[in-house]
Symmetry: C2
Subunit: 218 residues, 2 copies
């Protein structure tokens, strides 16, 4: 068990606090596609990613989705434990985008330690500020940027995450990341293909001209 | 000086912390329209509203605006002191919507106390979570709600804030709250007027049928 190496402020905990966390933290391995948290469960717990990739998104009443942020190795998800703070008044859904190993920290033990430790409370603040910054970036994207630019940025970012020029993504999946409709994404990808930016095949998008894609996304 | 009655966790501070804040906090009175913080100043300080109304918004490169949240009596603004946390990576602008009395807390003194006090750090967490919830609500509005519904909600909310059925708002101002264009707002208000919901005159909007407006906004 190497939780202590992944929890960034382990060195700032007291022996008692370390013991209380160690006794309760749970190791989980989940498969790609697994649902880790949704609005039916108010307080699953905090998720600390050991290795893998999670996606946090919101859902409309009609079932539309938009990606709010993603979590990679060593990232922590607070909003799957919204009961730890009274002022968190929104629901997110968290799913595994890849096979993922993670720790689940029970909300009650985390909350108790956060209330007594300035170090843990300030760390929590930094995690929240970091997610807040991602959501503010998203607001700017949605408000001021047209969908073609957002799609171009998304494809370039995905390529960086995957380390590949060929992205295994359906048009439906892309639409859910961007909060758009499949038909709109299909039309836009066809336009990108005509411009020589990508090659679209069933279930995948191949990037042909990364420079042009990045320029368009800026 | 009654700062102690407005700062919600005064009772949880040590005498030393109280003294350090008291020595540095500044009382300000600003007129409606005054700019309190913008991106040219990284770290103005924390703003605690004694009486009045502030608006926090973001600006696009082209000068378009959208309101992110508002601050009323006893509310605190953190993001005008973004230097207190490394992970705050966005800029907001804060202006007075009404004549406002407030306290400005210098960022260095607040940061120092937050780092040593779990109570102050946890209070800061709650303030941030509360703003986060407002921004998530905004994302849902922008993504899933059409502009007519957003305009209807906005007018009903303004009426509640002002305690009046006649709102002194130009179409330009409404557009800046909603992140839209003046022309679009004018067209929509004309449609609302034809439906008997409002009466539009120069520089003001009178609400004629609040029930219908609220139904539309839901």
């Amino acid at each position: 068990m190497d939780f202590s190496q992944y929890f960034p402020i382990w060195s700032k905990l007291t022996d008692d606090q370390r013991q209380r966390i160690t006794q309760r933290v749970m190791r989980r391995e989940v498969k790609k596609g697994a649902l880790l948290h949704d609005s039916s469960n108010e307080c699953t717990g905090l998720l600390l990613v050991r290795m893998g990739q999670l996606r946090a998104y919101i859902l409309s009443d009609e079932g539309r989705e938009i990606t709010i942020y993603r979590l990679f190795d060593r990232d922590m998800c607070l909003f799957s434990a919204s009961c730890i703070m009274r002022s968190i008044q929104f629901d997110i859904t968290v799913e595994a985008e890849k096979d993922t190993e993670l720790w689940l920290i029970p909300p009650d033990v985390y909350q108790a330690i956060m209330n007594e430790s300035a170090a843990v409370a300030n760390y929590t603040n930094e995690v929240m500020a970091s997610r807040f910054s991602e959501v503010m970036w998203l607001v700017e994207q949605i408000m001021w940027k047209s969908l073609d630019k957002r799609l171009a940025s998304f494809l370039a970012e995905e390529s960086a995450i995957e380390g590949s020029m060929t992205l295994k993504l359906t048009h439906e999946t892309i639409a859910k990341h961007l909060g758009s409709h499949r038909e709109v994404v299909t039309r836009m990808l066809r336009y990108f293909q005509n411009e020589g930016l990508v090659k679209v095949s069933r279930g995948s998008v191949e990037i042909l001209d990364m420079d042009a894609l990045e320029r368009l996304g800026e």
